[in-house]
Symmetry: C2
Subunit: 294 residues, 2 copies
């Protein structure tokens, strides 16, 4: 067991992200005591216990957080405020609370509103990892290796709490960056939330086509790659849209303006413009891949 | 050597698609004689010769087709008419001509216009295969295994010619479907051309973002999957847009209307509508994957 290992952890929401983090922290020897998992589904909690993610299970968030040094909120964004309200009065005075939500301004607002002074020990976080699976059974400890985690503490956030959460993420192989919640939301709207909207919308468009079955029969690799993210959890994505509405709308509007321009180039048969857009995109994508591999 | 193996083949345009088909036909024992490759780049032709795709190389299409039983046009769509004009007077009387272009109405029109009566032995084709690579060096004989090929002969097309091209595709592991050129263009606009436009446009949008480098640094798996098709050959995609303009514009307009609706749901915070769209897309995508695997 590593020095300073956690004696008591509460995991509120036991799914792919929270479950994988706990498994990874266990592998790193950073959990010396017990993990209590709290969730809505007793079946999923039992899976989590059998997978070695949690030691105890409860459907009562108040019981889960009592005495916990670290409280991890890993619930859909729409459930964050309710979870904070449920645990507020039972948090230990020195408990560090963190989350893994894909939007951060809404979570910061919820924490300020609900936790009041105790919000200084709330460290908002977002690991840029995951796949289209969900639930405790999908959790695995390598999920965060070589992935990025964004933390969005502000001037009021307790420095020791932020440092502790940073260290916990780094111990499982992630690299941690810090930025404002507003900037996080803009960056993620562009790089993750927008692409998901486009993929969902494409599947939607094609499913309304008159020859739907034939359309899907001939769907080529482009369609398959493009829509790989469409099976992601609908409830989670509904919450992301609502939570990051402003930045997502801005990103969608920019995209729609660019797509409208491309459509104009198609309509007018502007060969030069079309080739310029495609060449520029190819060069940019190639640079991106080179950056990922370097 | 199989009975009825081809004694003389002309390959006009020696790239991934044409090169792979010839390699696959050779493996299947269906080429008993020589293949003459014709292209603009002597370097690429030399690569094709070294890879065993072609036996002879020329930059003169007239020389390439003389005496050929089968002429495969595998040039960008914008170069089809010019290639047909170049070979018209040197085609053998019984030569079968086929192509591999991603749009078919334009090719059919070109063939009628240029070949006149000889257009009855032109069998328009489109293998639904390929990747983001190009050039003879990228060719490999397994490219068409378990892939679909669409042929778009019309009432005038010589039945024996169409049957021969069908057999040649089936011999390399592809399954062949026949439909009208107009229907092909609509189906491909939806399933391939539209997704490519969306991916190109996304890379374009993000590359104009003020914090471009940071945007790409945080680009998540969704972005990577979504834009995997963006590095495809810009010249080829320019030609596809011009050749399939009508059907592509229709598909883009449908998509933009659906995306606009989704943006409205985001703007108004319509949780129910958002979850319905995402759930429907997930179910549709899951069905599509199940269909591919069955």
């Amino acid at each position: 067991m590593a020095a300073g290992a956690l004696q008591s952890v509460a995991l509120i929401g036991v799914g792919l992200i929270g479950g994988s983090w706990v498994l990874a922290l266990r592998e790193a020897g950073l959990i010396g005591g017990t993990v209590t998992g709290c969730g809505r589904s007793p079946e999923n909690l039992e899976v989590a216990r059998q997978c070695g993610i949690i030691d105890h299970a409860t459907t009562d968030p108040q019981r889960a957080v009592r005495g916990a040094e670290l409280v991890v909120l890993a619930v859909p964004l729409g459930a964050v405020r309710g979870a904070l309200e449920a645990i507020r009065d039972d948090l230990a005075d020195d408990a560090i609370v963190t989350d893994v939500g894909s939007a951060k301004r809404c979570v910061v607002d919820d924490a300020r509103l609900v936790l009041g002074d105790a919000a200084v020990r709330f460290v908002p976080g977002h690991p840029i990892a995951g796949n289209e699976k969900s639930g405790a059974a999908a959790a695995f400890p390598e999920l965060f290796r070589n992935r990025r985690v964004i933390l969005t503490p502000d001037a009021d956030t307790d420095k020791a709490a932020a440092a502790r959460v940073t260290a916990l993420w780094e111990s499982v192989g992630a690299s941690v960056a810090t930025m404002t919640a507003a900037h996080h939301d803009e960056v993620l709207a562009a790089t993750s939330h927008l692409p998901h909207m486009l993929a969902y919308s494409l599947v939607d468009t094609l499913s309304r086509w008159s020859d739907r079955d034939e359309i899907f029969a001939y769907a080529a690799g482009g369609f398959r790659d493009f829509t790989r993210i469409a099976p992601s959890d609908p409830e989670m994505w509904r919450d992301i849209c609502l939570a990051n509405r402003e930045a997502l709308m801005e990103a969608m509007e920019r995209y729609m303006a660019d797509l409208q321009e491309l459509r104009e180039a198609v309509r007018t048969g502007d060969a030069e413009r079309l080739e310029a857009v495609f060449s520029h995109a190819k060069a940019t994508r190639d640079r991106f891949v080179a950056m990922l591999e370097s």
